[in-house]
């Protein structure tokens, strides 16, 4: 369930913490395992992480549900996380989100029928001077306009 490659990555995180504190690596371990399991977590993958880190399953479960970056439902290969907090809102984020939803034919938290893209409204991503902005997987895109959004999204394959 956890590949050798993923274990290696998790081990590198474990090494950062004091001996017997390997559960400090749980947040990253969940992300790593999520990434190689279709970009989402389920009870089995969470338990596998807990077992690997020698911590109770419920403790890993709590972390997996407390933090926003973990997906428990189906998401796209690309998750567009659109900031709708204050600076982005003042710069027209709501209209741009509506445009994106129209363009893709999905509402927020839904996945396009080809499984490629899902859209999520998120809180401030710490890039307010580049508002309006969104994040796609690891990358930030700032100073968005309708044209820019169209170009970015059309290039997702």
């Amino acid at each position: 369930m956890i590949s050798t490659g993923a274990k290696k990555q998790i081990d590198a995180w474990i090494a950062k913490y004091p001996k017997d504190r390997q559960s400090s690596a749980v947040m990253q371990a969940l992300k790593i395992v999520q990434a190689e399991n279709g970009n989402r977590l389920n009870a089995d993958t969470i338990q596998a992480v807990a077992d690997y880190l020698n911590m109770p399953g419920i403790a890993a479960q709590e972390v997996a549900t407390f933090y926003e970056n973990y997906n428990h439902k189906k998401v796209g290969k690309y998750v567009i996380r659109f900031c709708h907090n204050i600076s982005c809102m003042l710069n027209g984020a709501d209209d741009l989100i509506a445009h994106l939803e129209n363009k893709l034919g999905v509402k927020t938290d839904e996945v396009t029928s080809d499984g490629l893209i899902s859209v999520k409204k998120v809180e401030c991503l710490g890039a307010c001077v580049g508002a309006p902005m969104f994040q796609i997987n690891d990358d930030y895109f700032e100073n968005l306009t309708i044209d820019k959004i169209d170009k970015i999204v059309d290039n997702l394959k």
Partner: protein, 422 residues
């Protein structure tokens, strides 16, 4: 402008070790390794400098560092707070991207002063580009022999690691952040005990903001008095202000404390499309909103902003023009705090829900007579009654929006639509 954290901003590869060292970087750290600086000297310089915590609370950094029981036995930690999630705030991201070595040197100096041989930089989970940039800088520093065990035979030890968050505003609160590094839900701890006594993994710990750490090397280099003189009384030095919203050129500006707000607005290109300024949130979404009139005569320092009726916070200046519907803005902020409450204390958990639901029904055209009093009553019950400051942060905007823009709320309740947008 741009003299401390942003000093190398316009240089080629401003983030590289080479650029950093060429402008005097790591010279304080090298002096420490040669035994030429004492912890007492550094703490004194920081006290003279007037540096106050840049994470929002504004606690004097020199004083904080002096609270660490540096002579006690056992492991101690320094932790950098790069969780940056307060709406309107985006300066630490730029420090990590453009001047990561200043953060590393600042943390190393802190480690030496507080006798902490290990540091963690907690970077919010979404900041992947800044994370990789910081990791690259760490690698450079290790390869140059600036970090590790018995560095340069100095008997000084300092190891520095990153920890990545996973999307929770509350982890910016320092004790929630410690829980998070321990691999738990980010729920703030009761204080006391304070982290200086019982912190990370139960050990003495000091937490500072990214900008606070990044300011330290330059302060020690040029002297505390120099830094103090850049600023004004009670607000030493310069500070990064993130100016966002309805301005022509939104950006981060590192300017002397005490800079008039109207000058800062000018630096950001002034209002967009010749619109009129309506309101300003000067320190991030948790700080009270001000009217244009009050803002235009305020100076950007702790006392100046307090006198105007708000707080400097993290220096996140959100500019709103006349087209802004204040009911819509407050509703969005209320949703944020409701979403981000960790749920531990009843006044915060229930109160943020109430605030959001009442505002939502107003925005949906279903506001009731008495809703304004209801909002004021709920925010009053939250204020001062919670474990951490998120409760107050949720309450304060409500009070200030209603006080300064009450008419707009009354109009919305009465007519079921916005006074501004129609």
């Amino acid at each position: 402008m741009n003299e401390v954290c942003f000093k190398n901003l316009t240089k080629d590869q401003c983030y590289s070790l080479k650029t950093y060292e060429a402008s005097g970087g790591y010279s304080v750290w090298r002096k420490i390794l040669k035994g030429q600086l004492t912890p007492e000297h550094i703490i004194d310089e920081l006290k003279v400098s007037g540096l106050r915590g840049r994470g929002g609370a504004g606690f004097p950094t020199g004083l904080k560092w002096s609270f660490m029981p540096r002579h006690s036995d056992g492991q101690k930690y320094v932790v950098c707070n790069s969780d940056e999630g307060e709406p309107g705030t985006c300066k630490d991201r730029d420090i990590l991207r453009f001047n990561p070595h200043a953060v590393i040197e600042g943390m190393a100096i802190g480690g030496f002063v507080m006798n902490a041989s290990v540091g963690y930089n907690y970077i919010r989970g979404e900041f992947m580009a800044p994370f990789y940039r910081f990791e690259d800088a760490l690698k450079e520093a290790y390869e140059a022999g600036l970090l590790g065990q018995n560095i340069n035979n100095s008997s000084v030890n300092f190891d520095l690691y990153t920890h990545l968050g996973a999307g929770a505003y509350i982890c910016g609160e320092e004790t929630a952040l410690l829980e998070s590094i321990e691999g738990k839900k980010g729920q703030p701890r009761f204080k006391p005990p304070f982290p200086a006594n019982v912190g990370l993994f139960g050990k003495s710990t000091t937490i500072n903001n990214t900008e606070s750490f990044a300011s330290v090397p330059e302060i020690i280099n040029r002297g505390g008095q120099w830094f103090a003189d850049v600023g004004v009384e009670n607000s030493g030095g310069c500070k990064l202000f993130s100016v966002s919203g309805h301005v022509k050129n939104p950006a981060n500006f590192e300017v002397p404390m005490g800079t008039p707000f109207k000058d800062l607005l000018k630096m950001a290109g002034g209002m967009r499309d010749g619109a009129q300024l309506k309101a300003v949130i000067p320190g991030g979404s948790s700080t009270p909103v001000l009217t244009a009139e009050v803002a235009m005569s305020m100076t950007m320092d702790y006392d100046g902003i307090e006198k105007a009726g708000s707080m400097l916070g993290a220096g996140s200046v959100i500019i709103m023009d006349e087209s802004t519907c204040m009911v819509a803005v407050l509703t969005r902020l209320a949703h944020f705090y409701y979403d981000e409450s960790c749920g531990q204390c009843t006044p915060c958990r229930e109160g943020t829900g109430w605030l959001y639901r009442v505002l939502k029904r107003i925005i949906d055209g279903n506001g009731k007579q008495g809703d304004i009093d209801l909002l004021l009553g709920v925010q009053d019950k939250i204020m001062g009654n919670t474990i951490c400051a998120l409760g107050d942060a949720a309450a304060m905007p409500v009070e200030s929006f209603l006080r300064n823009f009450r008419k707009e709320f009354e109009y919305y309740i009465k007519h079921g639509k916005s006074m501004v947008k129609g």
